[in-house]
């Protein structure tokens, strides 16, 4: 079966489930926003609302034991790869039941059990981490995926690792979430050539521009790239064009974005796009609202359990500097 056939013939139920996962990410970010304002989330945090179709589409093409390296805008990356929302939210709140026991926080989540190599707090780090995971993955029949933003494509990590991965034919997929702003600065203002996918050609790496707000489009591109990686065909670069609904971080009201631009992207909210497509595929209103209800309940449970969890007790910390 070709990739196209595989995607087309897939039952709508699988997409309904993926829609539920996208919604979970959206609800998670909404809760993060609320809990931040209440002082329950500390420091800062980077919300990914608006970009949900990318991690969900990409991870739908992966096996549970494949590797994913995410970014500091990584709540969606973790949830899509399988991190439990309770453990992720508890980590955000600095609680002892967090996936890293409250040691890591929003920008540095690690969940090895679910193949999440880590979320990396510095732009570009995920690219090298996934490239390295691909070195190990090669001998394990696995694939590694790097998630990163448009800003990272101006980083040394991007250029060095694309070259490195192609020279060694590593099973890695480079997924750029191009949300058109590197922190507060428009991508086109700081990206020579303005064509992220086009940069792959210099390294002989196949690349494509993907509608990052369309779950189906992302999944289709990811399935093909993952198949190429797994069969020894080497790396692929996917430029998934998307948009963040919030500012860069909690310190950024995002006033630098023209209102018409924001309007235009909000009209193409990935959740709305997915909902319309599911209706076209014959998924009923009732089926949709059932999934939405279940997801809301799931998120509510995560909030309750995280808020009920204790903070780590410094006196009870058993940390050691080194692994034995």
């Amino acid at each position: 079966m070709t990739v196209d056939e595989q995607i087309v013939t897939e039952a709508p139920a699988a997409y309904l489930e993926r829609y539920g996962l996208m919604l979970l990410i959206r609800l998670f970010e909404t809760e993060m926003q609320r809990l931040f304002l209440k002082g329950e989330v500390h420091g800062t945090t980077h919300l990914s609302a608006g970009q949900e179709a990318v991690p969900v589409g990409v991870c739908s093409a992966l096996a549970p034991d494949d590797y994913l390296a995410g970014t500091y805008r990584g709540h969606g990356h973790a949830l899509a790869k399988g991190t439990h929302p309770d453990a992720l939210l508890a980590e955000m709140l600095g609680r002892v039941t967090g996936v890293c026991g409250g040691r890591a926080g929003s920008m540095n989540v690690i969940d090895a059990e679910h193949g999440l190599v880590g979320c990396f707090g510095i732009v570009g780090g995920s690219i090298a981490a996934a490239t390295g995971a691909a070195l190990a993955a090669k001998g394990q029949g696995r694939v590694a995926v790097a998630m990163f933003g448009d800003g990272a494509t101006n980083h040394g990590y991007f250029h060095e690792c694309l070259n490195f991965a192609q020279v060694l034919a590593l099973p890695v997929v480079f997924v750029c979430e191009n949300n058109f702003y590197g922190e507060f600065t428009p991508m086109l203002k700081v990206t020579a050539g303005g064509d992220i996918a086009g940069r792959a050609a210099a390294y002989g790496i196949p690349a494509s521009v993907v509608d990052g707000n369309d779950l189906w489009a992302v999944r289709e591109a990811a399935v093909e790239a993952v198949a190429r990686a797994r069969s020894g065909g080497g790396p692929t670069l996917l430029e998934c064009q998307t948009y963040r609904h919030h500012g860069h971080s909690k310190a950024d009201p995002a006033k630098y974005r023209p209102p018409e631009e924001v309007e235009r992207w909000l009209a193409r909210d990935p959740l709305g796009v997915a909902k319309a497509r599911l209706a076209e595929l014959g998924v009923s209103e009732q089926e949709l609202s059932e999934v939405e209800e279940t997801t809301r309940a799931r998120m509510e449970q995560a909030v309750q359990s995280a808020l009920a969890a204790a903070y780590p007790d410094p006196a009870g910390e058993t940390a050691t500097e080194f692994a034995p």
């Binding site: 890293c100 890591a104 390295g132």
Partner: protein, 333 residues
């Protein structure tokens, strides 16, 4: 190689890599030119790729960010990479993945995964390589919890410490002083693995303690020989072996015997390991101290010209005269 036979430092490194790659299939080795026929710019690793194949041993692009970043990613997903960053000076390019990723992973992940990784580099002056191919990068990393830093002083030490570093489940920065590569000395007992974090008494003595690491140890031993012969001063020489963890107990035990300590570092005093060591010894061993001081370099980049470079680096003669001067010995009496 049997114990007692002479072993060259660069061959000791090679043997350690080969033996550990034979012992454990998850050990891989990569870097710039390491698999090339010569085996790197200092001819340390020829023949290793032929022995273990291109999947486990391979040359990389000149991409220090990618090499160290990929080594980190591989280390947390099942491999045990040894990488070579050709000159320690190039570690400036490699710091992000070592400091922000490798060093913190064990802790941040709440012990989900450790990072078994060795980063080998040639360090140190005296080779006329100039200011940015002669530095010793240990102190750039010394203040980073989660990293180990090994700095061997002899062929036997190099082999035993590198074998330990490869078996260790933590990221280890491994320094090879380039003026030691051609040193030949007694080989270690077969299979010997030295502990990381335990200093050794390289020479016992009662009058003062000279502490150093790497090339500073043979220099201190030579100086100690001169002082014993010419001045009847018996210096104890402590080889730190690792700068992190730092074996404070061994240093304090020596100072308790000698009451005097000189720390010798090929690098500036400000921010150096020797200055840090003096502080810790003062904190914990003040009651044992009659005198404590350090010999380091000027607060300048390492010069190129032979006359300037030789005067810059604290060698055996400088160590011996530093001791004589401090002890009030009249030279040529």
């Amino acid at each position: 190689m049997s114990a007692g036979a002479a072993l060259e430092f660069r061959v000791a490194i090679r043997e350690a890599i080969v033996e550990e790659m034979e012992r454990d299939e998850s050990v891989v080795f990569f870097g710039e030119d390491i698999a090339a026929e010569q085996g790197g710019v200092f001819a340390v690793t020829p023949g290793i790729q032929e022995r273990f194949g291109t999947e486990r041993v391979f040359d990389t692009p000149i991409s220090e960010l990618a090499i160290t970043g990929a080594a980190f990613g591989a280390a947390v997903t099942g491999l045990r990479p040894i990488i070579e960053i050709m000159f320690g000076d190039f570690m400036g390019l490699a710091m992000d993945s070592l400091i922000n990723q490798s060093a913190k992973y064990w802790y941040l992940s709440r012990e989900q995964r450790s990072v078994p990784l060795v980063v080998r580099s040639a360090v140190g002056g005296g080779g006329r390589f100039g200011a940015i191919h002669s530095q010793t990068h240990a102190t750039w990393f010394q203040g980073v919890p989660g990293l180990k830093i090994a700095f061997p002083s002899s062929p036997a030490e190099a082999k035993g410490l590198l074998k330990a570093a490869i078996r260790d489940d933590n990221p280890v920065i491994f320094l090879e002083h380039k003026r030691l590569y051609s040193v030949k000395a007694q080989a270690p007992a077969p299979g010997e693995v030295l502990p990381l974090g335990q200093a050794r008494v390289a020479r016992p003595g009662r009058d003062l303690t000279i502490v150093s690491a790497g090339k500073g140890v043979p220099d201190a031993l030579e100086a100690a020989g001169q002082l014993a012969r010419d001045d009847r001063i018996e210096a104890e020489v402590i080889d730190l072996r690792t700068l992190r963890p730092l074996d404070i107990d061994a240093v304090l035990a020596s100072v308790a015997r000698t009451n005097r300590m000189l720390a010798v570092e090929e690098g500036p005093a400000t921010g150096g390991w020797a200055a840090g060591l003096l502080g810790i010894v003062a904190e914990h061993g003040l009651h044992d101290l009659d005198d404590v001081w350090l010999l380091s370099t000027d607060e300048l980049p390492i010069p190129y010209s032979p006359t300037l470079e030789d005067a810059f680096i604290p060698g055996a003669a400088a160590i011996a005269s530093a001791v004589r001067e401090r002890a009030g010995v009249v030279v040529g009496r």
